[in-house]
């Protein structure tokens, strides 16, 4: 955030749209669903202004496959939806992953399962980090916690997608999407990515380019692809794991949460400090790759780890995997579009003290 840059008050969903435009995304394919409707609406207004294409697809399936086409053609393309719509995109995401196409997918999660409701939620953590689609693929999952980060991480998402030829999921929730906060528009990264080696641009003066994931021979083809993918994933785990801590130095209790919950936990840490309780926050920013090692280090020696999510307990599994037997892990969750309150968390932690 440059000191001189002007702050504007912007809705989260619109911040995503503007950041994508700044990132050079000129192709948006989507289908309406609350609570992310401002993303397509913004793109419908904005893309024609910059010579881009906004297309309302006939369905989420069509949208993700249009993204497949545009990405295969070498363009920066994105789609955006919310939980039920993201479920419908799983096959397409698996195809994008298998064909190693770069694409940005936004999920502003809402209450589930089923039709559920349109309040914010974090019920899709498993789907996001374990691949809701078929096969052994992963996508990078970025979990912003503010409108500023919705913009910053969307911008980053396009670079990561191109760099690794991977799908990057920006995982927000209905509350983040609907809220307005001060925003300093991010600057384009300026990074260039050469797609001339694989993008479909017409086979003039070169060998044909093919984009596909059908690999009939298990041994010679599909296992090889999988091994290559796994290798790539190891590189990403090494280079792209992101997290943030707050007040962890001498914390006795470690609070762990992502996205919306992280900001609430930060509030709880402040409240607890006022009450003389030493608590700190560990916040994964990339949910995949998950900061296992960093969390393990941060967790060491704490009296208790409290994981807070807007779901029935999903990331807590990753926390357990990271922490193993070193510290006891507790969980507090709200579901169905409910959001944890600072007070409830403070109370829970004070319970540990007594």
């Amino acid at each position: 955030m440059t000191a001189t840059a002007e702050k504007i008050l912007m809705k989260g969903n619109e911040a995503i749209g503007e950041a994508a435009v700044i990132a050079g995304c000129r192709y948006f394919f989507g289908y309406p669903i609350t609570p992310q409707n401002e993303v397509p609406a913004y793109m419908a207004m904005r893309l024609p202004q910059v010579g881009g294409t906004f297309l309302q697809a006939e369905s989420e399936l069509a949208a993700i496959n249009m993204v497949f086409g545009a990405a295969a053609a070498g363009a920066r393309a994105m789609t955006s939806s919310s939980s039920p719509g993201i479920s419908l995109k799983q096959e397409g995401i698996s195809y994008l992953s298998g064909a190693e196409l770069p694409a940005v997918v936004v999920n502003m999660m809402r209450g589930g399962p089923g039709l559920g409701n349109i309040a914010g939620s974090q019920g899709d953590y498993f789907q996001s980090t374990r691949g809701g689609g078929h096969g052994d693929y992963r996508h990078i999952v970025l979990a912003p916690a503010s409108v500023q980060e919705l913009a910053d991480l969307t911008l980053l998402a396009f670079d990561l997608a191109d760099q690794y030829r991977i799908v990057v999921l920006v995982l927000g929730d209905g509350y983040l999407g609907q809220m307005s906060e001060p925003l300093v528009l991010p600057q384009p990264s300026g990074k260039q990515f050469d797609k001339s080696g694989w993008a479909l641009t017409g086979a003039k003066v070169r060998e044909q380019h093919l984009v596909y994931s059908l690999l009939l021979s298990p041994e010679d083809a599909l296992e090889k692809l999988n091994l290559r993918l796994q290798e790539k994933y190891r590189v990403i785990e090494k280079n792209e794991t992101r997290h943030e801590t707050y007040n962890t130095e001498d914390a006795e209790y470690l609070l762990v949460g992502f996205g919306m919950c992280a900001r609430i936990l930060r509030g709880a840490v402040v409240s607890l400090a006022r009450a003389g309780v030493k608590a700190g926050l560990f916040r994964p920013i990339t949910l995949w790759p998950f900061p296992y090692r960093e969390l393990a280090a941060a967790a060491r020696g704490r009296k208790k780890i409290l994981v807070v999510e807007m779901n029935a307990g999903q990331m807590v599994e990753d926390v357990r995997l990271a922490v193993a037997d070193s510290s006891p892990v507790d969980f507090y969750g709200r579901m169905g579009g409910m959001i944890p309150e600072v007070e409830a968390i403070v109370e829970r932690v004070r319970g540990y003290v007594e």
Binding site: R266, G267, I339
Partner: protein
Amino acid sequence: MMTRLIFAGYGGQGVILAGKLLAVAAMKSGKCVSHIPSYGVEMRGGTANCSVVVADEEIPSPLVFSPDIVCIFNEPSLIKFGPIVRKGGLLFFNTSLIDAEPNVPGVTCIPVPANTLAEEAGSYQTANMVMVGALVARVPELASLSALIAALPSTVSARKKDLLQLNEKALKSGFDLIQAPVSR
């Protein structure tokens, strides 16, 4: 300092905009702010509300469950939000549409004849502005009147730009309503 507010009324009364104007003005004054409308498949065309937080520190949750201040534009909203104001809080209510005097123990209730003043200011559509004017007059640490006026052009939608003057007038009339006893 962290002040949590709810603006509530009918859809169409401009409560979302009222909240947004306050948030922009506070932001321009260097505060941390957040604004979030309630949304839901409620009775379409029914009530609407938004939560606004104005603070000196980072804001944990933009959702407000026990507000410090509520600005209430109609009776259903009074019934819904009156009881949740925290002890010692403020309740601004639109006397133009609310007949009964709110009975909320431990909360200071501030009557604002928002529609009446708005009509006097030139348009009944600016009742929301009257309310915001009254609000900052009473709670000046949220934002100054001038900050609100400065925030108007970027907040009011393009279609309604011609209403800018009227909005400003309404803001002032709400402000004066509260400031009056002091300044006069």
